[in-house]
Subunit: 208 residues, 2 copies
């Protein structure tokens, strides 16, 4: 990938590389990734098609880099909830809301990265790393609550995975067809769903 080449200085080339990632983020918003041509990506970053290959070996590799940069953002989103304890409904809802907001903007490539069947080896690697990380964090939070006697039981790793999957798929659906959903309703229901999934109960929503 790019990690091998890019050592030392922020040379001209590194800027271009970043420009490509940024360009991709923008271009991927407009049309299905499978329909985006390398020529297009290169053009958006101001270089020719064959120049592209100097920086990435394929469209997938570029997508992988893009996803890789998304880690930090995703971490921030769930941070509040992960740091809290027990059934902090409001914290969870806020975290979910942040996630949905991001999906509404970058849903196209998020979907490709996290839901697509075979996004190529490059993306796969990054995807697995990210998903594992997210699930692990969630899972340890569940275990912590389990020790406090708050949860309803069940294997924490699986429950975490289900919660994460539930989250992404619903976000993806909202992205795909925003008109079909009432966002607040989705967030409320999703919050309750996750709480019930893990703790068996969902506290009465605080009046909004």
């Amino acid at each position: 990938m790019s990690a091998i080449r890019s050592r030392r200085a922020p040379t001209k080339g590194d800027q271009r590389e970043q420009a490509l990632v940024d360009a991709a983020r923008a271009v991927f918003r407009d049309k299905p990734i499978s329909q985006v041509t390398i020529d297009e990506l290169a053009g958006a970053a101001g270089i020719t098609r064959s120049g592209f290959y100097f920086y990435f070996e394929s469209k997938q590799a570029l997508l992988a880099a893009l996803v890789d940069q998304g880690i930090a953002e995703a971490d921030l989103e769930m941070a509040e909830w992960l740091a809290s304890d027990g059934l902090d409904r409001d914290a969870l809802r806020r975290s979910l809301a942040a996630g949905l907001a991001r999906w509404k903007v970058d849903g196209r490539w998020l979907r490709e990265a996290f839901l697509a069947p075979d996004p190529g080896p490059d993306v796969m690697q990054v995807r697995d790393r990210l998903v594992d990380k997210g699930c692990t964090l969630f899972s340890t939070r569940i275990q912590r609550d389990a020790r406090a006697g708050l949860t309803v039981g069940g294997p924490p790793a699986l429950l975490a995975r289900m919660a994460v999957n539930l989250r992404s798929t619903m976000f993806a659906e909202v992205y795909a067809d925003p008109a079909a959903f009432d966002e607040d309703e989705v967030l409320d229901t999703l919050t309750d769903a996750i709480l019930r999934l893990v703790y068996g109960v969902s506290p009465a929503p605080t009046p909004r």
Copy 2:
């Protein structure tokens, strides 16, 4: 699609068409659909590449036909649970088990059909039809139970969608990496998860 042409007799051509669908089902088991070439599909059905276009206009169209034939099977799977009432844990678990068994075999194209971001317009149409149907059936069952005071509340349509998504994504994950999961554990947890999602509680599992 194919519906226009195929009226009347099961002519030679109709057999070939079915042969293509069957061939596809088999070929799709072996490798990612995006890597399957039309030439390969045609060859597996005993015709040349250009012959393929006499029957389907694209790989996606063929996939759509394949998915279309899968309706009946999917319906059978969930029939028992949908016909039952309230928290029939065993019925739900059996229905889920049947689904998982099918995904373990045909997960490749099921995933492509139900989880892929943009599987082309042909598949999209069939997919939406099927998903809607599944969600609606589930949703009416929830409403029925809601009237009986069994559920915990929340918009039935959304809950149904979540349950269906939860199901497919977990099945997909098991298909993708069977070694990483204990099937029984997945089924138990998934059963409880859905029950908690809709009814707020999951009854103690009947001893196995």
